[in-house]
Symmetry: C2
Subunit: 367 residues, 2 copies
């Protein structure tokens, strides 16, 4: 018997904790992981200039962060060639996706995504009482045409697509996303998650005018800029939509250290180039490790690689557990047939070497 | 004509930005403030151990923060003599208040607060479609008995009370809050905002068992621990209620640097004692400055002082503007009769001296 009466929407949500961090897994196993390759974190680390800016900001942390995120927003606008009014900085893409769903989706309205795509987006849709319609992946990629068709059928308010995709690492050419925009009904807004955009080929990025009312795109400092623990990301979209966030967001919610670090990271193009080169090399390294073990790495435009284990989800799950026994933290897609894969994040050579050493042992343990 | 159709609740919210930070005011005036005394920030600064912990964590910021906030939550539980399951760490009290309203208040349900109390709480109530009933202050303090009576009349879901109070600095003995709990209807949960608790006399803190289903209390690292820009606070309450946050919170939303800093700050009791002593001295300093200018400082159990300017709200507003001209950032209560006051945050002596120098000039400018 519950002692508390929650509001109807949260009362109907699952009581279980939906996300488990690597620290929780480490506490359960009683030892730290040797290689933290499960959350698509970027072990090449943040720009030393960003680290220095954050360390300086730590002494000033008695001040709230600028609620207007003025300096960062203006720098981002210049970087993307849009107006500052087209940018909303938030507490990571996760935080911004929650605000977007709250802003746009009334209880019972339909949101379209792909079955196996980003669970946190689904969590927010359920959390605000939206009705989620999930389309299947096609050839290990989200299916833009099927998503647009579903948006028509259901009069969807939002349509989620990540390009490049997580968890598969696949990507579409930008022109295919542009074509998808033309195929959407007027009722629908494309939620274009570009968390991994910096890792992708240039032609994977669609050309979308910032005032195009059909799309809002999301970027983050968590991945290429290696600042996941700082909680800072941003949306790019039409000024009227961007201003909508001001009605509901936590205005003083974006940390002062995070803002200082993000600004310095954005300015350090050399470090970004270094990270992208290291990441590309690590993708090739993971593919080579997979090959040596007669597994197949799928092509990736991200900082992780989906490794096809050639069997079913139960096998991949068992391999994941065997790798965890070896001290290797990786994750896997949750939905068939993608769940034949494990998803390995790129990282520095010591972690890659640990994975290379552990994978054949884990496979043998299953044989 | 709007191009976007927002969901009904956000569509009905004001389109204006409700909060203005000091940086925005500085940009408008074209110069930085000499003294930043308007946001009850703690210019005595964070513990050097916390600064060092945050600087160390900056290099590790490529990792997400622990979504379980395990180490901090356990340390807070030990500190307060409660179970870890009685603690929820969040993105400042502001973030946690938003989650609480969303968890507990269905659209149209009533929430009781005081007219002139914390605007961000009201913002969240409106933001989730709650109906706010505001009771007047009495003798420059929130009125526990009137709030409880209003909760009965309206079947309120939540009743907000800050003890000590912001913006007036007044406080009630803990036993009066305990009595208020007994006077609440069964439908109502007391939202006890203790952001300033560390500054208050020990007997201002009510004794409330953590499993008492009538209350949830909120603490922060923004004030006494001087970490406003890190965005970290926590709730203490019954385990079942605390677990409710897990249904809707942004699980990876609490920054890694913030968690590391908060843990170090909590452990540095000497620094806290230093800050409390400095704050008490600054309160006396503000009172002396007020007296020298024939104004009256009200008693305060916080890190700010409400200074009664002896006239009406228009006069206090004009004084605020004149102080801003002098480079002094202070704020004021928004509602009569408390708006006869300006609210001055405690700070180090250079800021106190700047205020002492500017106040007579600002008063002369109005004469």
């Amino acid at each position: 018997m519950m002692r508390f009466r929650f509001a109807p929407i949260p009362a109907a949500l699952p009581a279980t904790v939906p996300f488990t961090g690597p620290e929780t897994l480490e506490r359960r196993r009683g030892a730290p992981f040797r290689a933290r390759l499960g959350a698509n974190e970027n072990g090449f680390g943040p720009s030393p200039r960003a680290v220095a800016a954050m360390a300086r900001a730590a002494a000033e942390v008695w001040k709230y962060g600028d609620p207007d995120t003025h300096d960062l927003r203006h720098a981002l606008a210049a970087h993307h060639g849009v107006a500052p009014e087209n940018i909303m900085v938030g507490e990571g893409i996760d935080g911004l996706l929650g605000l977007l769903v709250r802003l746009m989706v009334a209880p019972g309205e339909v949101v379209v995504s792909s079955d196996g795509a980003y669970p946190t987006f689904n969590y927010h849709v359920a959390g605000f009482g939206g009705r989620l319609v999930k389309m299947p992946y096609r050839d290990d990629a989200e299916d833009p045409e099927a998503l647009a068709a579903a948006a028509h059928r259901h009069g969807a308010r939002l349509v989620y697509l990540a390009n490049p995709d997580n968890p598969m690492g696949s990507w579409h050419p930008g022109r295919r996303i542009e074509a998808m925009l033309g195929a959407l009904p007027e009722t629908s807004l494309l939620v274009l998650d570009e968390a991994y955009a910096e890792f992708a080929p240039a032609d994977a990025i669609p050309r979308i005018e910032p005032e195009d009312a059909r799309a809002i795109r999301f970027r983050t400092f968590s991945k290429a800029h290696a600042m996941a623990g700082a909680r800072i990301g941003y949306a790019i979209g039409p000024a009227e939509l961007i201003a909508g966030f001001d009605r509901i967001r936590n205005h003083f919610g974006i940390g002062r250290i995070a803002q200082a670090g993000a600004l310095a990271a954005l300015e350090d193009r050399d470090w970004l180039a270094h990270v992208l080169a290291e990441t590309a090399a690590a993708r090739a390294r993971i593919a080579a490790i997979a090959r040596e073990n007669r597994l197949e790495a799928l092509p990736s435009a991200t900082n992780f690689v989906a490794v096809d284990c050639g069997r079913d989800g139960a096998f991949a799950r068992a391999l994941l557990d065997a790798l965890a026994q070896e001290g290797i933290f990786v994750r896997m897609p949750g939905v068939a047939p993608m769940d034949r894969c494990i998803r390995v994040s790129c990282g520095p050579e010591p972690e890659m070497a640990a994975f290379a050493e552990a994978l054949p042992r884990a496979l043998r343990a299953l044989a």
